[in-house]
C-alpha cells in the first residue's frame, strides 16, 4: 500500500526514459507512423522548427486564415518543453521542497530525520508533467487547427522553397525558428569522459553522488542548486568573478550566498582545462589565478550557454546571412537578408528565453503576413532565472542607462522590509526599480525574491502600459503579499516627488514678495 502510494500507481519503468510518460509525450509530439500531409504549397507561411516560436506563429497565422506549414525534425515543443523550462522547473520544485524540509525549523516545524531523497520519484514527476503539458502541443491538435505539420529535416533549396526529406515545399514567406542547442566546452578529454547537457540531464535515473557543473549562467546555477538540494555533492566552476554576469552584482552576490547555504562548492574565476577518467570517476583539472586543482566527481554537467541551431539548413541557398555564434542575422523587424524569410526565437536573438521566442514569433506573423511594421526593440520582455531566490529582470540595467547618458535613480526595497516575506521566511532579496532621474518613468527593474518571476510581471505591465512608478503607489495591493515590495518602491518614489514639490512650493512662498 505504502509503496503504491509512493509510486503513484506508476511503475518505475513507466517513469524511466523511454517509459510510458515518454511514450505518451512522443505520441503527442512526434507520433509514430505520422504521415506528412499532401503539400498545399505555396504556403503563406512556412515555419522551420516547432518550438515555442514555431508553435506560436503557426497557431496565430492559421487562426488568421493563412496557409501554414510547420516542419519539425524531432519533438514539437522544442527545447523548452522537452529539455528546458518545463522539466527543469518541475525538478527545481522538488528540490526546493527538500530544501524547505531541511530548513523546517525556520518555518517553526520539525525537520524529518532522516530526510529520504527518492530521485527516481522526482524524475517520474518531471516526465509526468512534461507529458501532460505536451498534450497541448500535440501534432494532431495543430493539424486540426489547420496547420500542415511535416516531420522531417528541412533544408532551404532556394529563396522560396524548402526540401523536407525529398518533398519540396514552396513558400511566400518563411520563418526560421530552429532554436538553439547546448554549447559544448572545448575541454580536452571532456568528450571522452562523457558529460551531461540540459538535453541529457533529464535522462538521469539515479542521483549522481557527485557532480561538477561547468558554467555559472542561469542553467548552471539552477541545476547546481537543485542537485545540491537533492543531496549530491555539487561543485560549480565559473570562469567569471560572479555568477550570472549579465545580472546586477547584488543579485549575483545573494545567489552565491544562497547556493553556498545549500552546500554548493563554489569555484569562481575558475576554468576547467582538462578532463580524464581514473578509477571510473571523472577528474577535472581546474585553474584559478594560476592555481591548479583537481575536482573528482561522478558526473559533469555543462551549462556554458547555447548556440543557435543553424547547421544544415541550406541558409546559403536561401540567401540568408548568419554567423556561428550570433545565429541568423535579422533586422529590427526580424527580417533576414532574404526579405521573404524571417526568423524568431533563439536562432536569431541575443536573449534566449521562451517568452521572447513567443513574442518575436508574433511580430513575425504580423510583419510577414500583414504588412506590419512591428519592431523587436519595442518589446518589453522580462526574464527570470529560477534559482532560489529567483532573479527576474525587465527593461534596461543601470549600467546600460548610464552608458546611454540617461540619468537614472533606483528605488530599492529589501525583501526584509516586506511583511509577507518576513511571514513566509523568504526575506532574501530585493526589489529595485530604475526610473529616469526626476521623473517616475520606469526604465527597468530587477527583483530578487523567492517568487521574483511572478512579481516582475507587475512592473512589465506598468512599463508596457506607460504607467509611471508613482501611479503604482496608488494601486491598492492585496496585503500581505510579497508584491507589496513593488508598492513600497512606488511609495518611496511618490514621497520623493512630494518632497520635491513641497520644496518648490516652500521656495515660492519664501520668495513671494519678489513677485509682488
Amino acid at each position: 500500500m505504502a509503496t503504491s502510494l509512493r509510486r503513484d500507481l506508476t511503475s518505475i519503468e513507466a517513469a524511466m526514459p523511454g517509459g510510458r510518460f515518454d511514450s505518451e509525450l512522443r505520441a503527442d509530439l512526434h507520433p509514430p507512423g505520422w504521415r506528412n500531409p499532401r503539400p498545399r504549397d505555396p504556403y503563406h507561411l512556412l515555419i522551420v522548427g516547432a518550438g515555442p516560436a514555431g508553435l506560436v506563429a503557426a497557431r496565430k497565422a492559421a487562426a488568421l486564415g493563412a496557409r501554414v506549414a510547420l516542419v519539425e525534425r524531432d519533438l514539437m515543443g522544442g527545447d523548452c518543453l522537452n529539455y528546458g523550462c518545463i522539466p527543469s522547473k518541475s525538478l527545481l520544485r522538488t528540490a526546493r521542497f527538500y530544501a524547505d524540509l531541511r530548513n523546517a525549523e525556520s518555518f517553526g516545524a520539525v525537520s524529518p530525520d532522516p530526510i529520504l531523497v527518492d530521485f527516481p520519484m522526482a524524475m517520474q514527476r518531471v516526465r509526468r508533467i512534461r507529458a501532460r503539458i505536451g498534450r497541448v502541443d500535440a501534432a494532431v491538435r495543430l493539424a486540426a487547427a489547420g496547420v500542415d505539420v511535416f516531420f522531417g529535416t528541412a533544408r532551404f533549396t532556394s529563396g522560396d522553397a524548402v526540401d523536407v526529406d525529398g518533398t519540396r515545399l514552396r513558400f511566400r514567406r518563411a520563418m526560421i525558428a530552429t532554436g538553439s542547442r547546448s554549447m559544448t566546452p572545448t575541454i580536452p578529454g571532456l568528450a571522452e569522459a562523457g558529460y551531461l547537457t540540459n538535453e541529457t540531464v533529464f535522462d538521469l535515473v539515479e542521483l549522481p553522488a557527485s557532480l561538477l557543473v561547468i558554467g555559472g549562467g542561469p542553467l548552471g546555477c539552477e541545476l547546481a542548486q537543485a542537485f545540491a538540494r537533492f543531496g549530491a555533492r555539487t561543485v560549480i566552476a565559473h570562469n567569471e568573478p560572479l555568477f550570472l554576469p549579465k545580472e546586477e552584482r547584488d543579485a549575483a552576490q545573494i545567489l552565491a550566498e544562497s547556493m553556498a547555504r545549500d552546500g554548493v562548492e563554489i569555484h569562481l574565476n575558475t576554468e576547467a582545462v582538462r578532463v580524464y577518467v581514473d578509477g571510473g570517476r571523472k577528474h577535472i583539472e581546474t585553474v584559478n589565478d594560476g592555481n591548479v586543482a583537481t575536482v573528482v566527481v561522478d558526473q559533469i554537467l555543462t551549462g556554458i550557454g547555447r548556440v543557435p541551431a543553424i547547421e544544415n539548413l541550406g541558409l546559403e541557398a536561401a540567401g540568408v546571412d548568419f554567423a556561428p555564434l550570433a545565429g541568423v542575422h535579422v533586422d529590427d523587424f526580424l527580417r533576414t537578408t532574404n526579405p521573404r524569410i524571417y526568423a524568431a526565437g533563439d536562432v536569431c536573438l541575443e536573449h534566449q528565453f521562451t517568452d521572447i521566442a513567443g513574442a518575436s514569433a508574433r511580430i513575425v506573423v504580423s510583419n510577414a503576413l500583414f504588412f506590419g511594421r512591428k519592431r523587436l526593440s519595442a518589446l518589453t520582455i522580462p526574464w527570470c532565472t529560477y534559482t532560489d531566490p529567483e532573479i527576474a529582470h525587465v527593461g534596461i540595467y543601470v549600467r546600460q542607462a548610464r552608458g546611454l547618458g540617461i540619468p537614472v535613480k533606483t528605488f530599492t526595497v529589501p525583501m526584509h522590509t516586506v511583511d509577507r516575506a518576513i511571514a513566509d521566511g523568504e526575506e532574501d532579496g530585493f526589489v529595485k526599480i530604475h526610473v529616469r532621474e526626476g521623473t517616475d518613468t520606469i526604465l527597468g527593474a530587477t527583483v530578487v525574491a523567492r517568487h521574483a518571476g511572478e512579481m516582475i510581471n507587475d512592473i512589465s505591465l506598468a512599463m508596457v502600459s506607460g504607467i509611471g512608478l508613482r501611479k503604482i503607489a496608488r494601486v491598492v495591493h492585496a496585503y500581505p503579499t510579497q508584491a507589496e515590495g513593488i508598492r513600497q518602491a512606488a511609495e518611496a518614489c511618490a514621497r520623493t516627488h512630494r518632497s520635491l514639490l513641497a520644496g518648490w512650493l516652500m521656495n515660492q512662498w519664501v520668495n513671494r514678495d519678489r513677485w509682488r
Binding site: E105, R399, K409, F430
Partner: protein
C-alpha cells in the same frame, strides 16, 4: 568634565592607542609595518601607507619627534625605491606598483599575493601625505620629498587599465591580470584620482567615466545615496581627500558630494542595524557598522530560527550582507567625521563597556555578540589589524583638526587628479 572635553579626551585616547600600533609593528631595518599583531604577520603595503599618513599626526600631537617621524618615513621610502621591481614571483613590485603582502624582513612578495592597485594607491597616498608634511629644508626631509616624488612618478597606472577603461584590481606573474575589475562605487575613488594625477603614466580620460558608469544611485530606507554595501568603501578615500563641496559630473547630476554621500551611507548603516532583519544580538541605534573585517568561523547554527553561517574574514555590507552578526568598531568610528552626532554616542557606549569588561571593541577587527561560545560578551577578533588603526588615527584627526585633508588639498597631484576626473567647485 563637559561632554565636549570628555569626548575630546576619549578621542585622544583612542587615537593615541591606535597610533601605538605603528610604533610596535615596524621593522626598524626597512620601515615596513606588519599587517596585524598576529604572529608571523607579513607587511601590508596599505598599512605602510597608513603609517606614513599617521606620522605627521603623531608629530603634531607630540607623540613622536619630527626627526624620528621623518627618519621612519625616509627608511621606508628608501626601501621601496631600492626594491626589486622586476615583477618576478618573489620581487617586491612591478612597474612602480607593489605586491599586496611583503615579507617583513626581506620585503619580498608573500603568499602569492597580487600586485595590488588599491593597496599601492593607499601606500602612495601615505607617501604623498608625508611629502606634503615634511617640507623643511633639512637633508632628511629634502631626500624624503625627492624619493616620494620618484616613487609616485614611477607608478604605471595606465598599464593596469583594461582596454583603456576601468582599472584591473591586480596582477600576478603566474596568471596575469585578475579577472576582477574596479566596477561599482568603491574605495577606488582614491586610486582613480592618483592615477589621473600622474604626469608620467596617467590613466586615459576614459578611465574615470568607465568606472562611474557602474555607479548605482539608490533610494534605500528613504535615503538617496551612491550605493555600496560595506562601510569602509565610504571611508577610505576620505581619509586622504577632503571631498566636502567638490563634485564630479555624477555628483553634480545628483546634487550631492562624496562627503555628504558618506554621511548618508552612515545613516543607512545605522538604520539597517535598528531594523536588524536577522535579529542579531547587540545591533541597534548605538551599535552598528558592517564592513570588511575579521569575523568568527564558528559552525553554522540557528539564530532567531534561521540557519546562520559564519564567514570569518569577509567584506560585510548592508542591506544584502553578508551579515553574520559581526560588527566593526573601527568602521563605526571612521564615520565620525561624517556623522559625529551618530558616532559619538556609540563610541561613548563602547568605551564605557570596555571600561567595565576590558573588551576593546573599537580597536579590534570585528566583534560578534551573537556568537557566545567564547564567553557571554560574544566573539572578539584577536589582536589588531593595521588598516583599522590607520583609519582611526586619520579619521579622528580629520575630525579634530583636518590635518590629513589640509595636506591633501595642498597636494598638486591630488588637485590635478581631481580636476582630470571632472571635479569642480569648493576648495578646488
Amino acid at each position: 568634565m563637559t561632554d565636549t572635553a570628555a569626548d575630546d579626551a576619549l578621542l585622544d585616547s583612542l587615537q593615541h592607542d591606535a597610533f601605538d600600533y605603528f610604533l610596535q609593528g615596524i621593522n626598524p631595518a626597512n620601515g615596513l609595518i606588519a599587517d596585524t599583531t598576529r604572529p608571523d604577520a607579513p607587511s601590508s603595503i596599505a598599512v605602510v601607507g597608513f603609517a606614513l599618513g599617521a606620522y605627521p599626526v603623531a608629530v603634531e600631537r607630540g607623540w613622536l619627534a619630527r626627526s624620528d617621524a621623518a627618519a621612519r618615513t625616509l627608511l621606508c621610502l628608501r626601501f621601496f625605491m631600492d626594491s626589486d621591481q622586476s615583477g618576478a614571483v618573489d620581487a617586491t613590485g612591478h612597474r612602480g606598483l607593489y605586491y599586496h603582502f611583503l615579507d617583513m624582513q626581506t620585503g619580498r612578495r608573500m603568499w602569492r599575493s597580487e600586485v595590488s592597485l588599491i593597496d599601492t594607491a593607499l601606500l602612495i597616498a601615505g607617501v604623498l601625505t608625508a611629502a606634503a608634511y615634511f617640507d623643511a629644508a633639512t637633508p632628511d626631509e629634502t631626500e624624503l620629498r625627492r624619493l616620494a616624488d620618484a616613487l609616485y612618478l614611477r607608478v604605471d597606472w595606465r598599464w593596469a587599465q583594461r582596454d583603456g577603461g576601468a582599472l584591473s584590481q591586480g596582477w600576478r606573474p603566474e596568471s596575469g591580470f585578475l579577472h576582477y575589475g574596479w566596477e561599482g562605487y568603491s574605495e577606488a575613488l582614491l586610486l582613480y584620482v592618483l592615477g589621473l594625477g600622474s604626469s608620467t603614466h596617467p590613466l586615459t580620460e576614459a578611465g574615470f567615466p568607465a568606472w562611474t558608469e557602474t555607479y548605482q544611485w539608490e533610494n534605500l530606507y528613504g535615503i538617496d545615496f551612491l550605493y555600496a554595501g560595506p562601510l569602509f568603501i565610504h571611508q577610505y578615500s576620505h581619509a586622504w581627500i577632503d571631498f566636502r563641496g567638490i563634485r564630479d559630473a555624477f555628483m553634480r547630476e545628483k546634487r550631492c558630494d562624496y562627503f555628504e554621500n558618506s554621511r548618508r551611507a552612515t545613516l543607512v548603516q545605522r538604520e539597517y542595524a535598528i531594523r536588524n532583519p536577522r535579529s542579531f544580538a547587540g545591533y541597534g541605534t548605538d551599535c552598528w557598522g558592517l564592513s570588511a573585517g575579521d569575523g568568527p568561523s564558528a559552525e553554522p547554527c540557528l539564530v532567531a530560527g534561521r540557519h546562520q553561517a559564519f564567514y570569518g574574514y569577509s567584506a560585510r555590507g548592508v542591506p544584502y550582507g553578508p551579515d553574520d552578526g559581526t560588527l566593526d568598531g573601527s568602521a563605526l568610528l571612521s564615520s565620525l567625521v561624517f556623522a559625529p552626532d551618530l558616532v559619538l554616542p556609540a563610541l561613548r557606549g563602547m568605551a564605557a563597556s570596555a571600561a567595565r569588561d576590558g573588551r576593546d571593541l573599537i580597536h579590534a577587527c570585528g566583534f560578534n555578540p551573537t556568537v557566545t561560545e567564547a564567553g557571554p560578551g560574544g566573539w572578539l577578533s584577536a589582536g589588531r589589524f593595521g588598516l583599522d588603526q590607520g583609519m582611526i588615527v586619520l579619521m579622528i584627526e580629520n575630525y579634530r583638526t583636518g590635518l590629513p585633508w589640509r595636506l591633501g588639498r595642498g597636494n598638486p597631484v591630488i588637485r590635478r587628479g581631481l580636476r582630470s576626473a571632472g571635479f569642480r567647485g569648493g576648495w578646488l
